[in-house]
């Protein structure tokens, strides 16, 4: 029903677009148009679709709760809790849909009938109201088309609002996500002290699992220390950047300054393909190829190497990040004006001097930006770590041992059995929000660095 209604509105909008344009051509024969004919079409189409769709959306949002209120009115005198009421309502709905399997009381049956009735009324009312709105708004719009009112401004204003609503939606969703993270994290911090979380050096949430009953607060104290995770995260990211920054930057410089047009044409897409490889693929590459390789070499040198090492995960992550740095830094260096290169060459500078003294400094803000972007990617990367560096949260600075990261632990916590109110589950939200804060912080720094340099150089 809803689908038909929406399709109808959209089809009608298309029709009114063509109709409006045609009408404009008719008007054109007798008077000057206020805008291009297509604006007349847009105007009609917007007036046709927007009010009807808005009302439709509002209706769909509010209808269920209104119906619910009506149904549950009959139960107010029974002194039921909120959860019980919710249960009854679910039963009523199931009964109405014919999928209810429990025993049916008279009272429930009545409610279900009432529900079906209400739904029917609501549906017809919806159709009627929307049709009325369509007729009203279309005739209103058609009148102004006929009067040859100004068309361009309303259409532009309409577009502005459409764009505004879209960006508002994006912002609201982001805020919503952050707040849901925040609320769960706050509940976690009611069970575990924030101090223990930030400074504790022992991460072992499985310890708090106690069948039936509350976990021992003493256990909680020692199970959620996030230091090993933060350390592991930064450590692996650091290894990754040790691989990615030199290779990425050097290849970026090669591509932008040294490579001939032919090389550049093929090399750049090939490097960018690296960025398109799914991280799982890197993950098993790290786990099955690089990890054992590192172990073998280590053993040959007489070192103790675990099969899942921070080094393997970090190195592969670095390879994954290379294209970000090389491609972005190539772009920013290519964007340095040719006139600066000419100025340097004309002074007798060689290519490498020009790169080092003119191109690179001029492109530095963009390069720093791309590196910080790459760092936030490294910190947020999950799959490679889960597969190649293991899940044991060791606090270690030895790249040959296994460590774990924030993201990998979130995965560990959320796969398998879990209860929602459990501090173990909630700790995932606390980790999530810390990760979010760290990346946010990095991005803010990146932006301010870029801005500072830009002020200096423009």
């Amino acid at each position: 029903m809803n689908l038909i209604l929406v399709t109808f509105i959209i089809l009608l909008a298309f029709t009114s677009y063509y109709f409006g344009r045609k009408k404009a051509l008719v008007i054109q024969s007798s008077q000057r148009l206020t805008a291009l004919p297509k604006f007349y079409g847009y105007y009609l189409a917007a007036w046709c679709a927007a009010p009807a769709l808005i009302i439709f959306a509002l209706w769909s949002v509010f209808e269920p709760s209104i119906v619910k209120t009506f149904i549950l009115q009959d139960y107010t005198d029974q002194n039921l809790t909120k959860n019980e009421l919710q249960l009854i309502y679910t039963k009523v709905k199931a009964l109405a849909a014919g999928t209810y399997t429990g025993n049916i009381t008279n009272f429930l049956d009545e409610s279900a009938n009432k529900y079906i009735q209400l739904k029917g009324i609501a549906n017809s009312a919806k159709v009627a109201i929307i049709l009325a709105i369509l007729i009203f708004s279309l005739s209103f719009a058609y009148r102004s088309v006929q009067k040859n009112d100004r068309m361009r401004e309303p259409v532009e204003i309409f577009l502005k609002w459409v764009l505004f609503v879209a960006s508002l939606g994006a912002v609201l969703v982001t805020i919503g996500i952050v707040f849901s993270l925040l609320f769960e994290a706050i509940r976690f911090f009611q069970a575990v002290k924030i101090f223990d979380f930030i400074f504790g050096t022992h991460w072992y949430p499985a310890k708090t699992f106690v069948r039936d009953g509350q976990p021992d607060p003493e256990l909680m104290k020692d199970a959620f220390g996030a230091v090993p995770l933060f350390a592991g995260t930064f450590f692996i990211a650091f290894i990754a950047m040790c691989v990615a920054i030199p290779i990425g930057l050097l290849s970026g410089i090669y591509l932008s300054e040294y490579a001939g047009r032919g090389v550049r044409k093929y090399a750049k897409p090939i490097i960018e393909i690296l960025a398109g490889i799914p991280t799982v693929v890197y993950g098993f590459f790290a786990a099955l190829t690089v990890g054992p390789f590192v172990k073998e070499i280590g053993n040959a040198m007489g070192l103790e190497v675990s099969a899942e090492s921070a080094l393997a995960a970090g190195a592969v992550m670095g390879v994954m990040i290379i294209p970000f740095i090389s491609s972005l830094s190539d772009d920013v260096m290519t964007a340095v004006p040719q006139s600066l290169r000419d100025g340097s060459y004309a002074m007798g500078a060689t290519k490498s001097e020009t790169v080092k003294k003119v191109i690179f400094p001029a492109a530095l803000p963009g390069i720093v930006g791309s590196i910080l972007l790459a760092v936030s990617r490294a910190i947020g990367e999950t799959m490679i770590v889960v597969m190649a560096s293991g899940l044991a949260a060791n606090l270690t600075m030895n790249p040959l041992e296994s460590t774990s990261t924030i993201t990998a632990q979130i995965v560990v916590i959320l796969i398998g059995d879990q209860q929602f109110g459990d501090p173990k589950t909630q700790s995932a939200f606390a980790l999530g929000i810390s990760l979010f804060i760290v990346t946010l912080f990095l991005n803010v720094i990146a932006l301010s660095v870029v801005k500072k340099y830009r002020e200096k150089y423009e």
């Binding site: 006139s339 600066l340 000419d342 100025g343 004309a346 002074m347 060689t350 003294k357």
Partner: protein, 251 residues
């Protein structure tokens, strides 16, 4: 005395020929102006003199260009030395996004000219003085060069070019982005500089060519149509095309 002697220079961009058999004798410590309608190859010729055409992948230069009997158009030439001796000032001021001091010190640093910090300070100061910019910037040498006004930037570029004491300075429409006052300052500067250096200047302004130059060459469609003393070119040129261009009848 002749400083640069070009003979039968042909330049190609890919398969398109931009210069046809250009032969010219540029005299030492004089200002030589190159004029001609847009696209006639003035910049192309100028860039042959410091091998800046090397930077353009598709560009090919044929013929002989000798500077003090040194063949410039030769594979064996040390381009870095050449460009130390032949400075260039571009149409659009292009100071580096560095401080004023660093801009001027750029050449001397690259070529290892200054032995000490004091010497470098001295070079920067003299160059800026010669470029008539010292008084305006002496208190803010550590400000970014791109923050200067257009005319100041262009004078900074001139200071940068003369910092390595070149024997020749090439200027490609150095005043086209400047107002009349800045233009007058630069012209005055050119007049000063020619006591020590040979200057080749490309310009679209007839009056500027007449004011600053001793010799003028008129290019048209990649050919050097006429070349001679500026007075003669402007008062009674041999060639009808030159006459037409100078009097503004085409171009």
């Amino acid at each position: 005395m002749s400083k640069i002697k070009a003979e039968n220079v042909n330049v190609y961009y890919g398969s398109k020929q931009a210069l046809f058999d250009v032969s010219i004798d540029i005299a030492e410590k004089e200002v030589t102006a190159l004029i001609g309608p847009s696209g006639c190859g003035k910049s192309t010729f100028l860039r042959c003199l410091n091998r800046m055409n090397d930077v353009i992948e598709i560009c090919r230069v044929e013929g002989s260009i000798k500077m003090d009997n040194l063949e410039l158009n030769s594979r064996k030439l040390d381009v870095v030395r050449l460009r130390e001796n032949v400075g260039m000032v571009f149409q659009k001021p292009n100071p580096f996004p560095k401080t004023i001091y660093e801009n001027v010190a750029y050449g001397p640093t690259i070529h290892g000219i200054a032995q000490s910090k004091e010497e470098m300070d001295q070079i920067v100061e003299t160059s800026l003085k010669k470029a008539a910019l010292w008084n305006e910037v002496k208190d803010r040498l550590d400000e970014i060069g791109t923050g200067l006004s257009g005319g100041q930037q262009q004078r900074l570029c001139i200071a940068r070019a003369i910092s390595v004491s070149p024997e020749v300075i090439l200027m490609d429409e150095p005043c086209s982005a400047l107002d009349p006052i800045a233009t007058a300052q630069i012209e005055e500067l050119i007049d000063d500089l020619k006591k020590e250096v040979t200057i080749v200047i490309v310009t679209h302004s007839m009056s500027q060519a007449a004011r600053v130059s001793q010799k003028t060459g008129f290019f048209h469609l990649g050919k050097l149509i006429e070349f001679g003393p500026t007075d003669k070119i402007f008062k009674n040129p041999d060639n009808q095309q030159t006459q037409d261009y100078i009097t503004g009848r085409f171009g």
